[in-house]
């Protein structure tokens, strides 16, 4: 074994690879490409190793860069701006004051007005006024990357300890469980919830909903019941869970006949129902108050109608229109279950998104940190300014304006122009 592939060197070159920006660029572009494919073709790609592996690699890449470069940035930020360093800055202007005039208060005021409160130092007989902006700029990128890690951490917590589900309530119905979306099973809420009322208000056009809201009564065992309203954009938190008004719909009364037996089902739109006593299932796809049938030259109203999907046993789904005013059409249905529309129910049912996500506060903290990082990185570009005053042999004050701000050229030029005007001994104070 040669020395070049000893474990230590291997580790070092692995670290080298992990901290390389080339890898970052490759991963970012790869993720962009995969996400494109995800939206155009394979919707679930975000949960497959094809997507998660580069995300993991990017996380590692990001963490490694933090470990490697953050200490250097911290050291840079901790170095104070001293008089010695100020003297090494490029010169931006010179001034001379008449004998007997003390420019110090005027210089301090000019700096304070143009930039901010300066610090004052004395060095080898020189009076130095210092001002520094954007000292924490070197930390900006690292704060941004730390924030991204925090957001991913929050997402991970949400993924493993969060619960997401849905709850459907008919008017007057009480629930103690909801449907967990991840497991597909029902899960206890830890409290009772009853839908007392559901209202939809429409705009004047009569079609666009203005608002829909659920009036709920919530009850924890052994406590006083509470009433609450849940609207879109106004979620409701109770116990461990938050309820979001997701959607609503109507249900229909369907008569199901199979041979000699008939039964009546209340079928909410959009929900798959098992037909009791059989293997078959039914789902109401659409409901029409008054179905409009375009004929050759006119449109004929056919009355209340429902479009349903019928799944017999394990067979294919068949789509059937059921018309209330034409019950005789039942004979044309494939069977063995045959459906008649008895009525459209006047009441709505309400659908809630149920959620518990302990990661969300991590994600939000990440957001705030991200904004702070952006502010540091892009909005506080470093500038250093100094005014150095010195007395010549005759006791007259001479001054020099020094400064640098290579990243903030525009703002620097503006400050320079105004500072020169303010410091000019000829100008009125």
């Amino acid at each position: 074994m040669s020395s070049s592939d000893s474990p230590a060197t291997l580790l070092a070159s692995l670290f080298e690879l992990l901290t390389s920006i080339r890898l970052t660029i490759f991963l970012l572009l790869a993720l962009a490409l995969e996400a494109m494919i995800g939206t155009l073709r394979f919707e679930g790609i975000y949960y497959t190793p094809w997507f998660l592996a580069p995300v993991m690699a990017l996380t590692l890449n990001l963490s490694a860069c933090l470990v490697k470069r953050l200490p250097r940035a911290v050291r840079r930020v901790r170095q104070p701006f001293t008089g010695q360093q100020a003297l090494a800055l490029p010169e931006r202007g010179r001034f001379a004051w008449p004998a007997g005039a003390d420019p110090r208060p005027m210089v301090a005021a000019a700096l304070r007005q143009e930039l901010g409160r300066p610090r004052q130092r004395r060095l080898n007989g020189r009076e130095i006024f210092l001002y520094e902006r954007g000292r924490f700029r070197p930390l900006g990128p690292y704060v941004v990357h730390l924030a991204l890690l925090l957001i991913m951490f929050g997402a991970l917590i949400g993924k493993y300890w969060g619960v997401e589900g849905s709850l459907m309530l008919l008017k007057g119905e009480t629930a103690t469980d909801f449907q967990n979306l991840q497991t597909g099973k029902s899960q206890p809420l830890g409290f009772q919830v009853r839908l007392d009322n559901f209202q939809v208000q429409y705009y004047q056009d009569g079609r666009t909903p203005r608002e829909f809201r659920s009036d709920l009564t919530l009850l924890r065992p052994g406590e006083k019941p509470e009433t609450a309203i849940c609207r879109v954009n106004e979620p409701l938190t109770f116990g461990r869970f938050t309820l979001y008004q997701a959607s609503y719909g109507r249900s229909i009364l369907l008569q199901v006949r199979n041979g000699e037996s008939t039964q009546v089902l209340e079928a909410p739109v959009g929900r798959v129902l098992q037909i009791p006593g059989s293997e078959s299932r039914v789902k109401v796809l659409e409901v029409e108050e008054n179905l409009q049938m375009p004929m050759q030259s006119e449109v004929r109203p056919l009355g209340p109608a429902a479009k349903i999907a019928y799944l017999e046993g394990s067979g294919h789904a068949q789509v059937i229109w059921v018309l209330k005013n034409y019950p005789q059409m039942v004979e044309r249905q494939p069977g063995p279950d045959r459906f008649t529309l008895l009525n459209l129910s006047p009441d709505y049912f309400s659908v809630f998104q149920v959620k518990h996500d302990p990661g969300v506060w991590w994600v939000y903290s990440g957001f705030i940190l991200l904004l702070l990082g952006f502010f540091l990185a892009f909005c506080r570009l470093p500038q250093r300014w100094a005014v150095v005053l010195q007395r010549d042999e005759q006791g007259q004050w001479q001054g020099r304006l020094l400064g640098a701000g290579p990243r903030a050229r525009e703002s620097f030029a503006g400050h320079r122009e105004r500072l020169l005007a303010r410091l000019n001994p000829g100008a009125n104070p």
Binding site: I21, R22, T24, I25, L28, L29, L31, A32, A35, M36, G38, T39, L40, E43, Y46, P141, A155, E164, Y203, Q204, D205, T208, P209, R210, E211, F212, R231, V232, N233, E234, P235, T242, Y244, A246, Q353, V354, K355, V360, V363, Y364, F367, L370, L371, F374, F378, E410
Partner: protein, 286 residues
Amino acid sequence: MISSVLGVVTLTYLLAGLLFLVAAFSAPPRFQGAAGGFLWAGLAGQTLAILGRWTQSYLGALGPTPSPALLEKIRLVVHQAPLSNFYESLVFFSWCMPFLGLVAFRRYLQNYLGILVAWLACLLLAYASLGVDSSIKPLMPALKSNWLLVHVVTCFLGYAAFGLGFGAGLLYLWQGRRYRSRLPDLPQLDRLIYQTTTVGFLFLTLGILTGAVWAETAWGRYWSWDPKETWSLITWFIYATLLHARLVKGWKGRRTAWLAVAGFLAVLFTYLGVSFLLPGLHSYLT
């Protein structure tokens, strides 16, 4: 009334662009000044038109029994910001161009870059006026949120900054093939690409974050891989690449210009492609 004001604004932008063109071919600086003046006038007119539509939409939403509470009124004003359909988004997108040009990038706003800003704004506004349904529609419940205003404003300021970066990128690639003295020089274009990208990236990030917080209160999920969300993330990845390449690896010139062009194509797909081709939670435009 408002549509005729916008018609005049469209013509003003067209004229501003023409004056910038004349200024690019002749020395006298007064054309430059006149072009800038027209651009300001257009921006002022468009601002008034947007405020007018905002008022109209607010008055329309008051209803027969408006709530007397001040807080409710403010809420309604915020909710009725004219940013809720395709037409209104186009008008605002167009407004962002001269706004950014005149406020954030005024140092660069000469000759060809002036033409770029003025004509992009003109084009967007003309398309909005001629090709898109401009009626004020009632607001659907999902959009009734204080987040609508800040989410849409930040997103479109980002899009517009990227649009300017795209223009600068194209000019860079064109200038790079053979030097033309009338075009801005390469270092200036390169700086402009970087600065527009920074501004755009800042606003796009703000747009994504406000969108996530809004989605959390509306749908109970801050991220759902909805096509619009995903495409905004793709756009974010592309511009993040540009910034890393430039800031850390020191890439300049052609490669960043190409990335700025690719990034804006992703922006366009996020804005238009997703809305018209991929159905999802953000289907408010059609």
